[in-house]
Amino acid sequence: MKSFKSNQLYQLTLTQFLETIREPEVLFWGIIFPVLISIGLGLAFTQKTESKFHVILVETQPTELDSLLCLYAQPEQIEGKEIRTWKVPDDILGNTAFRFERKDWHSAIVSLKRGEADLIVTDSTGRMQYHFDPHNSQAQLAYMKLSALVHSPEASVTTTAAAPIRPLTLKGVRYIDFLVPGLIAFGIMSSILWGVSYTIIERRSQKLLRRMIATPMKKSNFLFALMFVRILMNIVEALILFFFVWWLFDIQIQGNIGALLVLFMAGNIAFTGIAVLVSCHTSKTEVGTGWINAVQMPMMILSGIFFSYHNFPEWSIRIIKLLPLTALTDGIRSIFNEGAGWMEIITPSVALSVFGMLCLVIGMRFFKWY
């Protein structure tokens, strides 16, 4: 019997694996970096932070605001400018801080254009006037909070609200719950696109592909080995990421773990197909980079990794839902946060696998081994 160690699929997988783990930079960018990013984003978006608004006063005569500022705001000198800060505490919605600064109209507009200021306040016969871009929701919020505050400086929104606010503390509704499944899906996509495509293109330009197929090596084994190693790395990456977010943010998988694994595999197949298609012809890494970006960028923006795609126009959502990354992200998210099981993931899993196989077949049809 032939020894297991001289099996070519085993050797191809082993050498591919050794090569991957011997490149510390690859490990860093492939595994540690995504984990750091998600922890960073997670902390940034879950910490109860102060909302800060910057208001510029362009007044000729004192208004009601000025008398309030004398009472409530702290004057300070920052870089020679007098800035007054009014802090409004709020246990439920988080604290708010308004920074007021005096300027002339022209410099106020410049600050607004630069995004330094949210609101400009002027006066007209002793009454305040607000100036802001009505399409800017941050400016709108600043306006609403400030005008409410000027109206009744002692009361906070929470206590005056007509109906009481009940903060949701359910699992799966926080931003981090939304983000983590997206990052796992994104991790699969970028690790496979870069890992598989880049390896293929580099081997081709080194003439190593040509050297390899000048032997009885089975071509499919070469691609399988690339895919196996990538899937292994993706599993490790997802586990590390999951461990940290579970530990730091108490994220849990509410749905079926078996279904999650199947979907994970389907995602790997889909992106391996794309990766092979993208790298089937070129031996220039620059061309490869171009293709990978062309595939990855639109999906990264559209597929709802960092924010929901429901903000996009209605007509585009139907198209967005057809993107492989969208299918994968939505599927993983529903298992994590909505307790989805086998039934919900059958369609995306089958669609992703079929799509991946199709790309693989087309890619192999046009594949240049040398």
């Binding site: 160690k5 001289s6 070519q8 090569e19 190593l208 032997t215």
Partner: protein
Amino acid sequence: MLQIEVNSVYKSFKDVQAVQGISLAIPSGEFVALLGPNGAGKTTLVEMMEGLRKPDSGEIRIQGKSWQKHENELRKIIGLSLQETRFQEKLTVRETLRLFASFFGLGEKRVDEVIAWTGLESKHQSMTGTLSGGQRQRLALAVALLNHPQILFLDEPTTGLDPHSRLDLWKILKSLKDSGETTLILTTHYMEEAESLCDHIIIVDEGKILREGRLEELLNENARNLDELFIQLTGKTLNENPEKSQ
């Protein structure tokens, strides 16, 4: 039996006619040298014999079989080293050899043999990325020898080697020749290499065979060695200042 038959083969790239109607026949056990200046078409011709490029027209048979129909069979009996191959840099010499051995279903025993044969014992644990040029050539030769090839193609195996390493490599090839089981096609710019190793010498330039035969058949009063013959044939020198000849 003829190991290799090449029948009026043509190959051109966009604007270059790399091989223009070459025919040859190489019997079993013969060592053949392809000599020619840069761009003569040696690599193109050899790669067509190796089944890595398709000729535009003409026919190539290895042991009477064509590449189109018998690729799987033929891959098992040939060994080759390309003019330039970079192996995976983060693998050791031994790991690289193990990988290639597995393609032929061979194991550790054969790996040990070729390591010993090519004198890579002291380097078998080194990453291929850290090898010197000559050591890399030896590794390429070791890979080529793994499957006991009946036909061996070596594209400039000694280019860039110091005289000592070149002699080492010649020794390996001579021992191969003595066993008489291997047919060798070797491209080179070095006259001495062709003279000392090969039975049959083929001089090519601009995609055509200028002269071929045994060394003593090629030489005459006007051309006492291959260098002179080459100048006589083409007006160019073979390996000195090759860029001038282009």
